[in-house]
């Protein structure tokens, strides 16, 4: 079945979905894209953040987005500790750190999953807010407001991080450590501390992304497995370390998924995502906006 109305709706909903994908991937763009840390526990941290938001919303009736902002500093500290642990046990010790680091982060992901199960049980959890479950009507098109929230937050995060990384001293230092760690060391800076700080920022961003995750759909302890492929797909397609590229890649992914879901059949949607990734890498091995 094909109609222009359907196509228009698919594109609009796809852009919103893409922005949500960008929000949940943008932290990985820093940790994996800029710092070369094989952070496969990224989606597990994301789910952990969403449970933190759930707790604030359920116990203290705090708005999920505000809760995301409140837990972001805690996640910043969690990021600092995690990176220091990773650095001391793996990165400092040799060139195969990346391979062994994957095992380290898989371990962390499993620990987080089990801790969530022990604390919250295995049931789904969701939050309440005035903008969840409502739609904005534009003609005959209905746009879920929770998706509009994800759209706005993803745009704000992208602008904030892109500005921070390009305009501030620390942001430029993070970019420098990604490009030439040794050069930075020769200039008297401590690349490990800079990477640790950057990892902290990447994890703090997950506090807000976790809020979006639970605003968009209910969460359960093993949800990280659903997002691991998607988030890495977005970051690699974007070009490692490109914040703007992450937003563009996520929107391309969201729109293509949405069009396929609407016009051709739901089973094809994930295949299209990865076909797109392969297509982009075949033409531009460095990703959309990678150098």
């Amino acid at each position: 079945m094909f109609s222009l109305d359907l196509l228009r709706d698919a594109v609009v909903l796809g852009v919103l979905l893409g922005c949500f994908y960008a929000a949940v991937s943008i932290g990985l763009s820093i940790s994996f894209g800029l710092l070369d840390v094989p952070h496969v526990a990224h989606p597990a941290f994301l789910v952990l953040a969403s449970y933190g938001v759930y707790l604030c919303n359920d116990q203290y009736d705090i708005d999920p987005l505000l809760a995301g902002l409140l837990i972001a500093p805690l996640f910043f500290l969690l990021g600092l500790v995690t990176y220091r642990l990773y650095y001391e046990t793996f990165e400092r010790r040799g060139s195969d750190a990346a391979v062994r680091g994957i095992a380290f982060f898989f371990g962390i992901a499993f620990i987080i999953e089990v801790l969530i199960i022990l604390q919250f049980g295995v049931d789904q959890r969701s939050v309440t807010a005035s903008y969840i479950g409502k739609a904005w009507r534009v003609g005959d098109l209905r746009i879920p407001i929770r998706q509009l929230v994800a759209f706005a937050v993803a745009l704000a995060l992208t602008v904030f991080l892109a500005t921070y990384l390009s305009k501030t001293f620390m942001g430029r230092a993070i970019r420098a450590v990604a490009q030439d760690e040794e050069g930075l060391r020769l200039m008297g800076a401590n690349p490990v501390r800079i990477k640790q700080f950057a990892f902290g920022i990447a994890t703090a961003v997950l506090g807000i992304a976790g809020a979006l995750l639970i605003i968009v759909a209910p969460v359960e302890p093993t949800l990280d497995r659903v997002y691991i492929g998607r988030t890495f797909c977005v970051v690699v397609m974007a070009g490692l370390g490109s914040i703007t590229g992450t937003l563009i890649a996520a929107i391309i992914l969201g729109v293509s998924e949405s069009i396929v879901l609407t016009m051709f059949g739901a089973s094809w949607a994930p295949a299209i995502s990865f076909a797109l990734l392969l297509g982009v890498l075949a033409v531009r091995p460095q990703g959309l906006l990678g150098r």
């Binding site: 979905l17 199960i117 049980g121 789904q124 479950g133 359960e220 994930p270």
Partner: protein, 415 residues
């Protein structure tokens, strides 16, 4: 008598007590099973296990079976089909269990069917769907009220047709359970003369359903039959609430797994109103039998401690009923002989807390008791409301019905 004598007599008395106790105590009857306690099926698995544990405690309080205590040997299968064959081999060869219960759900159960058939073992099924249809094991008894394979789809689609529906949309998760269900739904539509205008399967990793619901809406179906798993069920209902399915839809729901669980029901709240979905037990007047009320009193207390589904309607009473059937069979045959037990279960009607159970040749219930119930007057964030009658009104089958279907779907949501 000095202090040393007193100590000596006391020691002797304790030793005698221990030895006489040991010689009088028979080894327990071991019932082995795996149960999903982590992973996607864990919510159901834990509730089911609690139901079985309550039965074990009740039967042990009455002195056990054949003068022996009942002991459960349980492993977590992580909701995975790849775990269960090894776990059941371990239960049989290492733990030397006397009897087997199947894990909750179709996916973990299917791979152990060849094993139990090969070894000629009795297996009490636990909410599987048609896992014996190709194996034809004559010692399999599915403890689930499904009955004939098409009972889920038949009840729902017949209701839709009676409400004036002529066209159907089928939306299903792309995994074995949902695909089995939707296959029977396609057959039923042909049999009763409904036209399928939308038929899509989505992958279980789908997180956002707005686009799918928009496409479904464009097909303008009268009946929407959904076969989904818990995470998808909640996301689909959210999208339906926001995007809408159109005024022409008479009935929406069918086979949405998850809407039976307390946490999901509490989270969705008023979004559930109007949805007609399958269920197995509900606190409606037609569903109380001997021991049902007492069971739920015990369950409610223990569920809080065990952090499992506080309502436990869907699986827990069936876990208890599974124990009741085995208890009845062992007491009647006075043995643990698997063939004798299977013969007894096959040839008799069993009185349980979920009603009388009789088995057909294929090990499924002779008569389906799969309920179709419509959510009504559900409020947000209130779990206790679901304990009262009237929140999930049984609209099918006729013998258990407690109300009529309210239609069309969009209008019924405002009830």
């Amino acid at each position: 008598m000095n202090r040393r004598d007193v100590f000596g007599w006391a020691t002797a008395a304790v030793m005698f007590g221990l030895m006489s106790g040991a010689s009088a105590e028979e080894p327990p009857i071991k019932i082995g099973m795996s149960m999903p306690q982590t992973g996607g099926l864990a919510g159901g698995g834990k509730a089911s296990l609690l139901g079985i544990e309550i039965w074990r405690d009740d039967v042990n309080a009455k002195g056990g079976l054949l003068g022996r205590k009942v002991e459960l040997v349980v492993y977590d299968d992580k909701s995975s089909a790849s775990e269960t064959p090894a776990l059941y081999a371990k239960l049989l060869d290492v733990d030397k269990v006397d009897l087997l219960f199947a894990p909750y759900a179709t996916v973990p159960t299917a791979p152990i069917m060849p094993l139990v058939k090969q070894r000629g073992l009795l297996l009490m099924g636990n909410f599987s769907f048609q896992v014996n249809s190709k194996i034809h094991h004559d010692m399999w008894f599915n403890n689930a009220p499904w009955g004939p394979a098409d009972s889920w789809a038949n009840g729902f689609l017949t209701l839709g047709q009676k409400a004036g529906g002529k066209t159907v949309a089928l939306l299903s998760s792309d995994q074995e359970f949902a695909q089995n269900i939707v296959t029977t739904a396609r057959d039923v539509t042909k049999k009763i003369g409904l036209q399928v205008v939308f038929d899509q399967a989505y992958l279980p990793s789908t997180v956002e359903f707005s686009s799918i619901i928009r496409a479904l809406n464009a097909a303008k179906p009268d009946i929407v039959f959904v076969a989904s798993y818990p995470p998808d069920s909640a996301a689909i209902l959210k999208a339906v609430n926001e995007i809408g399915v159109g005024d022409n839809v008479k009935i929406f729901g069918g086979a949405m797994v998850g809407l039976q669980f307390a946490a999901v029901m509490e989270n969705l709240g008023s979004l559930l109103n109007g949805v007609v979905n399958y269920n197995t037990w509900l606190p409606e007047p037609s569903m109380y039998f001997d021991g049902t009320k007492e069971f739920f009193e015990k369950y409610t207390k223990r569920a809080i401690q065990a952090k499992v589904d506080p309502l436990g309607f869907y699986l827990a009473p069936y876990g208890y009923a599974m124990g009741q059937m085995i208890e009845e069979a062992i007491n009647a045959t006075k043995s643990l002989d698997q063939k004798a037990l299977a013969k007894f279960i096959r040839e008799n009607v069993h009185k349980t807390i979920v009603g009388p159970i009789a088995y057909a040749e294929d090990g499924e219930w002779k008569e389906s008791a799969t309920l179709e119930a419509q959510f009504r007057n559900v409020k947000d964030k209130n779990i206790d409301q679901f304990r009262s009658a009237g929140k999930q009104v049984i609209v099918f089958p006729d013998r258990l019905k407690t109300g009529d279907l309210v239609t069309p779907f969009e209008a019924s949501r405002g009830n």
